[in-house]
Symmetry: none
Subunit: 415 residues, 2 copies
Amino acid sequence: LNLKAILFIADGMADRPLKELDWKTPLEAARKPILNRIARTGICGIIDPIAPGIPPGSDTSTLAMLGYDPLRVYSGRGALEAVGSGVKVLPGDVALRCNLATVDENLVVLDRRAGRIANEDAFELVESLQRIKLKNPKNVEFYLKNTVQHRGALVLHGSDFSTAVSDSDPETAGKKVLEIKPLDKSPEAKRTAAILNELSQEFHKVLSKHPVNMARDKHRLPPANMVLFRGAGTIPKILPLEKVFGIKAVCVAAVSLIRGVCKVAGMDLIDVKGATGTPQTDYMAKARAAVKALKEHDFVFLHVKATDVAGHDGNFKLKVEIVEKIDAMLGYVLDNVDLDSTILAVTADHTTSCVTKNHEGDPVPVAITGPYVRTDDVAEFGERTCAMGGLNRLRGVDLMHILMNLCGRVQKFGA
Amino acid sequence: LNLKAILFIADGMADRPLKELDWKTPLEAARKPILNRIARTGICGIIDPIAPGIPPGSDTSTLAMLGYDPLRVYSGRGALEAVGSGVKVLPGDVALRCNLATVDENLVVLDRRAGRIANEDAFELVESLQRIKLKNPKNVEFYLKNTVQHRGALVLHGSDFSTAVSDSDPETAGKKVLEIKPLDKSPEAKRTAAILNELSQEFHKVLSKHPVNMARDKHRLPPANMVLFRGAGTIPKILPLEKVFGIKAVCVAAVSLIRGVCKVAGMDLIDVKGATGTPQTDYMAKARAAVKALKEHDFVFLHVKATDVAGHDGNFKLKVEIVEKIDAMLGYVLDNVDLDSTILAVTADHTTSCVTKNHEGDPVPVAITGPYVRTDDVAEFGERTCAMGGLNRLRGVDLMHILMNLCGRVQKFGA
């Protein structure tokens, strides 16, 4: 037995019962014949991505769902997102998430996204910042990359950096840009904070006088005159999936953070035209890409962000619709893979409540179908039906081992 | 979402099926419309307070149910009980539980409770012992406090003490008072044992000639001529609940041990008139106190001891009656709190079997009701019905995080 596997994760798909849906969750309320078929022909359960009652981030949960214990290996979001957006981050480097923002003369943030600045403007502005030379300390190599619109990543390259530094991003407009402070007493944290504060000032100086911003001013567009930093991180020290399970693994995901986690796990990344990480993504294009990728790989990680977006907006109607689109995606997958040699698992990386509009620590449902799976009586895919399933209640970090075991790809422990 | 929570714990309420109850447990046999309503409107499960098959103490289980891992933080019962009875125990101090006892001239214990000596006699005797000065080592500060009847606490104040010492209490009458021995090879354990042995002798000397005991002899009451020590402990190093979850927490409990655990967790303690920690406690007074306390606090820990007392006595009929009184308590709570802003959880701290008359390692049932809880099909609160619930099987240490997650009070791990 040497099967292949597809792990489908709908970001934030799990939810709580909603009054507006007659006390059903969006997942429960959706028409989802395929998801129900997967539950009916498979084994179901619930998963605490991190631990019971702990609201997961998408980064920590994805690490867990790939079999890495996030409590041991997680080292901040910045580096994962940078890697996912195509920036090289090496061991020793510290990476941060960046926003091009608009500030006034007192450094009060007017718009954290500089009017969701167009890619062309952002690209030209960021390029000019790369030429800055730091004075104190000298010779610090940094790399600033613009990804999409106002978003970007900053990498401090070398050694003697620390992730124990605060953010300069105040997270809400109307507040002043924050001074970055060391969060512990190490010389590395002090040094890193000093470098970031200097970069912040130098970036502001250059951006304030930049011709692109002069032009934006003429067109009554907010100038992108500041770069806000947050989420300092390093790449986690983990073995690639190929070393852990001997598998060739591939990621079909649009959002940088998820791509970053998969990249540090040694997975191939596939770019799908029309995949956007938004509710308007091309769902079927991703399904097709996953089916195609399975031919050349042993394991496909297929991720859809849209459910989480709808949850954060509290838009339960949209969330129901997205679940139905996901259902169609999975229909394509089931129709086009060899069901005799494929394990298919469906779950969410966390609960995103349409009421609180936030990640919550409630468990997520999971269903696994494929050859020789011990089926149970669950006939519907949902938060509460799956809780009655044969898998009982699992931790996220156990899922990958369960899948790889069904694929015949886990080493025996003992003799 | 920022809800409040009540955690109700009936000590030792869980049990095993009994022939005399037609193979039902006392909880299953009781008439309990309110407990069933909580199960029906909520989500149920079973909890291993420590780990599957491990019989918990009330101290370790209460630590776990408050979210502290007892396997890491538990440091003996003595200090917790001392704190709970109003004695100050500082970091470094070692505290022990004490019994005023009756011994013969060969130090054989005749009565471990000195005829359940009256508070007045006990108080006067214990006060005289406080004046003793130790010779070797000099200047050891100790504090002896009489709590109720024969019960008390001894605190060694300072540093260089160890909890690795045996008890002098032989636990049964007819046996000789035991010499206290160091349980490891540290100088601290040796020193602590020596101090306790000297205190034991000095206490015996003073008590043997004490006028109160002369008077007791005249009235044919057994003299309280010895102090038995057991359960050396320190206060566990734990963060207060306010630091962990940002909540103002309060404890409504009568027994010292539970109050001690809550106190070291930084909780306020409420004294309820008529609350005794016995089957004759004023159940409704505690329910009223809990409802009132919820107005000024975010979290109420409400504890009833009586179920455990009935279990230790093997009195299953009484245990059934107590469950029915608890049911009425919870009816008052449900009628008098704002159900739109309160999470209510009901469980036991361990199984106390009416057959073995001891704590057992069987899991305990739990039900959680409140806004946006993912309900299940369980319609009856019991050991076996709850095992079919949507929470599946949990560890005690996870419960508090689950409750605080439902209250919107847990920090996200990751981004």
